[in-house]
Each structure stands twice: as C-alpha cells, then as structure tokens.
Symmetry: C2
Subunit: 318 residues, 2 copies
C-alpha cells in the first residue's frame, strides 16, 4: 500500500508497503481522508522519537474485522490511544493516560497517512450518515478542543481569550462559542481572521489584548510568547489552558506571578469523540471551512510543505 | 521606635524611628512577637522593590483605635493585604487580590519588624485567650498553608507529596495530615526530619520519591529543582500546587509533559486567618515546635543571619 513513513525526522513516500495485519480484537480500516496536524509537523522536527507511518486524524471504512464481521463496511473515526484496559488509569476510565498505551501515528503504532491502518474495534466509532468524510476527518481535533470543557466548567458569563487561530484554535473557538461565553480570539493572519468573522467570532491582534481581564485563556500557539501573553491576559485566580503541542526545549515561566495572582494552569490533550460527532451531526460546528487544500497520498510530501506555511489551515490527504 | 528598615536590599536597624500614624479606620498596634519568613529573605535579595520596615508575621496588641476604642487592649493578628474595598476583586470577596492593595512589610506599607505598626481595624483579628503569642505569630503562614485546601479539595484517599520541609513546608505538612490523606514530605535536613517525626509524618529523601505516583504535589522549596521533582512525582491528571516565594528569574518548564499528562498547576498565596486560629485554639497544629531562636529587635540583623542558614526554621523577633 502507499504510505508516508517518518524515519529519523525524514518523511518519505513509499508506494508499496505491506498493509498492517490487525491483531485479535482489531480491525483493518481503509483510510478515506486524513488530516495533517501540528503534532505531525512537530514529529518531523523531533518532538517525539517516532519512526513509522505518520497520521492520526482520519475517517475510514472497516474492511476486515474477524471479531465483529457485522461491522465490515462501517464508516468510522478512531480514538488514537490504544490502551491496555488493565492498568490503574484504564481502570479509572482514563484510557488516554494508559501506562502501556500506543498512539496512532505518534508512538508505537503506524498511523493514518496510508491506504490502510489497524486499530482495536473498541477505538473505532461509527460516523453518522449525515456527516461527510471531510467533516468527520475533524473528529479527533474537535474532540481535543472539547477536552477543555471536559476538564473545567466554562460559565456563560466568562470572559474567554483564545490565543492562536490556526487549525486547532479555530475549532476551539467554534466549540467555545457554544457555551455562550464572551469570547475573543487572537488571530495573526488575514485568512484566520476571515474564518472567525464568518462565524461571527470576534478576533483581535496581539497588541489589542487587555491585561488581567480574562477568566480563561486558552494558549493554542504552542509558543513561549503565547504563554507570556496568556499570563498577561488572565485575571487573578483565572485559568490558563495549555492546548497545543509544545515541542522543543523548555519554556521559561514567571512563577512569582503565577503564585501572586493564584493562576491555575491546566495541560489539556486528547478529548471525547462521541460529543464531537454529535456537534458535527447537529451542524453546531463547521470545521470544513478550515480546509485549505487536498492532496493524494502520493503527493504527501508536497502536502506537508503546504501545511508548514505560516498561517496554513487544514491540509487533507485523500 | 526601634525598627528594621530595608533600603535598596540593605537591612538596617534604627533605634529611633517615628511610630506610624494610623489613618481613619486603622489601629495602632504594639508588636509583641514577629516572625521571619522566606519572603523577607527574598525581599533582601530584591524579589520585590520594597523600601521600608520589613515584616508581615506578627501578633500584637491594639493600643490606639479611634474608630473602635473598645478594641484597645485586644490581642490581635493581622491580615497582611490592605484592600480598597471597592475594586472588582474586593467586590468579589477577594481582598487579597485587590487591585489597589498594599501589603504589610512587602508593598507600600511599613511592616511588623518594629515596635508599632498600623493596620485597618478590619484586618485585625482577635486571638483566643488560650493561644500563646508564640503560637499566634504563626497565624499568617498557617493561613497561607490552609489556602491549599481553600483552592482545591483534598480527598482522604489522596496520595500527597510535599517537597520542602522548611518553615512553610512544616506547617503545610501539619495541616495536610488533618485531611487524612496519605502524606509524604521530602525533607533535606536532619532537624526538619526530626520535626516531622515528632508529628508522625513520614519523610523521605529526594531520591526516594516514586515517579508518577502522587495525586497532589505541593512545591514548597521555591526552586527550579523542586518543580522538576514535582513534575516527576505527580500522576497523570494530578495537581501541582506552587506554595512558595519564587524570586529571581524565570523557571524553565517542560510544557509538553504538562500537556501530555494533563497536569494542573495552581499558584497559591495568602490564606484565611479564622480557620488558622481555630486550628491553633484546638491544638490540631503545633507550630511552636518550629521555633529555632528568639532575638530582640535590636539584634534583628543577627536574627536575619540565622534565618538565612540552610535548613533554618522559625526565627522570632520579640
């Protein structure tokens, strides 16, 4: 099969790799559409020492499922953490923190930038018929956006700032508006601002952010300067959510101001798929407006070049 | 009056300063006992550009109170934040975050290392007769320790680690044991370990800390290495409380591990005095075992030299 294989931070296209062999309880899935995410770009820079097929955002079709033959033909999205089911975190109902976990296209498991992938049947969630492939491919990042609301309650009266209006920032903004909160989004690029405007979401420039104002600040740039701005913008006893991939070295933090203002900082990763699919089905979010371009797998290297451009939105592999 | 005056990070003893003149609604308080805290030591190193009389931990007696003459003679401790009562944080019931606040011996208000101090009557809380001066002088740091339980709920089944067993770490340990949690304290110095042992609180060395174990880790060293240890010790979705004075420059933080493990970091500062006094009155905490030495104000410079020693516990000015 065709696939994009990462080896020592070098991405290669292979036209003829063997397809994965599903283990017991797993299914073979034909990938219909896959999306390139910032984590993929960071893996190319060495964020995590992964060698194998990249990609974790996908929608596909089950083509082989020995343990559940009735599911063959089902259109599915996939929870990317493959959990052991036995460790203390799995027993607690937190499979995304499984001590033995593999993660699709990120750690110990080949990913979705291929014609086929293998995942446990438990990870595969049917896509409602009314949700298109190009909407369903956003389920994983949309779930990650919803993890904010999973970790803390957002009140309709809250003043909320999202810093960063890229691929994930836009989805965060779309889901946060559903809370009724007073939302503003720091957006740097014209097309990011346009997209927000089409959803009636107020955007502003970095230098327009009011200090000590916001109950909640979502840092979605993955940068040191983004966190500095978050610290300025958050009010005393407010919360900063870290909602990005922070690659590279450590970020310097002014602990004194965290303590004096009694700020809460919350790291936030993978989220729940079922509510993401519900929002897609009900058209309460519209991720397809983020699609910037589509490439066949064979042009995957070029697709990555596009995704790397500053301000680039979603690039799909079809 | 005698006082210890900080000027450009230089501490001086003055035998003959004028006593403070209380403003409307304020009282003049004769200081009976005052305590030296890590924040005082950090102010000497330039943590905050304060010039004036140092000191914020005290017990005293009201000697003048025009607005409430019946309170003259009352033995009191004092909430150190002098709030405006009008700003959005005061209106929210958060005077410790008042936008206009002065802070006794820390910012815009002369402090307690003197024969007299002035504070608003509202800040002055009567000390129960059964609580000695040498216990009452710990009310402020004890309140700061209790701010942890004010900011988050600690469950009796929680595994809790306190990193640092100095002046504040010991008080934190004493209050956390009251929750019934499974508590361990990282203590470096023999006398710190002894003190914990007298309260049947388990201590351990840094290299004995189990990774990814603790539901809650309280960082009470104010150091970068303390935070690194906290990040190692906390379990996925656990909480790190920053409970110290973080002076100097910024601390490098591995954001990636905060996000991947979905850690919550909470800055924690001043706490509630009333519960601190209740615990003292009920002998549920015993801070006086921390007293290392006592000096008259006139020997304040020498008292500070003692307080600076590694592993030093509480030094009182009497």
């Amino acid at each position: 099969m065709q696939a994009l294989w990462l080896e020592h931070q070098q991405l290669n296209y292979y036209p003829n790799l063997p397809p994965p062999k599903p283990l017991a309880g797993e299914a073979l899935v034909r990938v219909l559409v896959a999306g390139i995410c910032t984590t993929d770009l960071e893996l190319l820079k060495g964020y995590y020492p992964f060698n194998g097929i990249l990609g974790h955002e996908f929608v596909g079709e089950i083509v082989e499922a020995t343990a559940a033959p009735q599911r063959v033909g089902q259109r599915v999205v996939g929870e990317i953490n493959i959990a052991c089911g036995h460790c203390r975190y799995c027993q607690r109902g937190w499979p995304t923190h499984c001590e033995q976990r593999a993660t699709l296209g990120i750690a110990n498991r080949n990913g979705a930038f291929a014609e086929y992938l293998g995942l446990p049947l438990n990870n595969l969630i049917p896509v409602p018929a009314t949700v298109s492939n190009e909407a369903a491919v956003f389920t994983e990042p949309l779930a990650a956006a919803l993890q904010i609301q999973q970790q803390m309650s957002i009140r309709p009266t809250d003043q909320v700032l999202v810093i960063g209006a890229g691929r994930l920032g836009q989805l965060i903004a779309q889901t946060l508006t559903l809370t009724g909160c007073h939302l503003q989004v720091v957006a740097r690029y014209p097309k990011q601002r346009q997209l927000l405007a089409t959803r009636q979401i107020p955007w502003l420039a970095e230098n327009q952010v009011t200090d000590n104002r916001f109950d909640l600040v979502v840092e979605a740039t993955g940068t040191s300067s983004g966190f500095t701005l978050a610290q300025q913008a958050v009010r005393p006893r407010g919360t900063i959510i870290l909602k990005s991939t922070y690659a590279g070295s450590e970020i310097p933090v002014n602990f004194s101001s965290l303590v004096v203002a009694e700020i809460t900082v919350i790291g936030c990763r993978c989220g729940p798929f079922a509510p993401a699919l519900r929002l897609l089905e009900q058209h309460l979010v519209e991720p397809t407006i983020l699609i910037e371009d589509r490439f066949p797998l064979a042009e995957g290297i070029r697709a990555f070049e596009c995704a790397k451009q500053a301000g680039a939105l979603k690039i799909l592999l079809v």
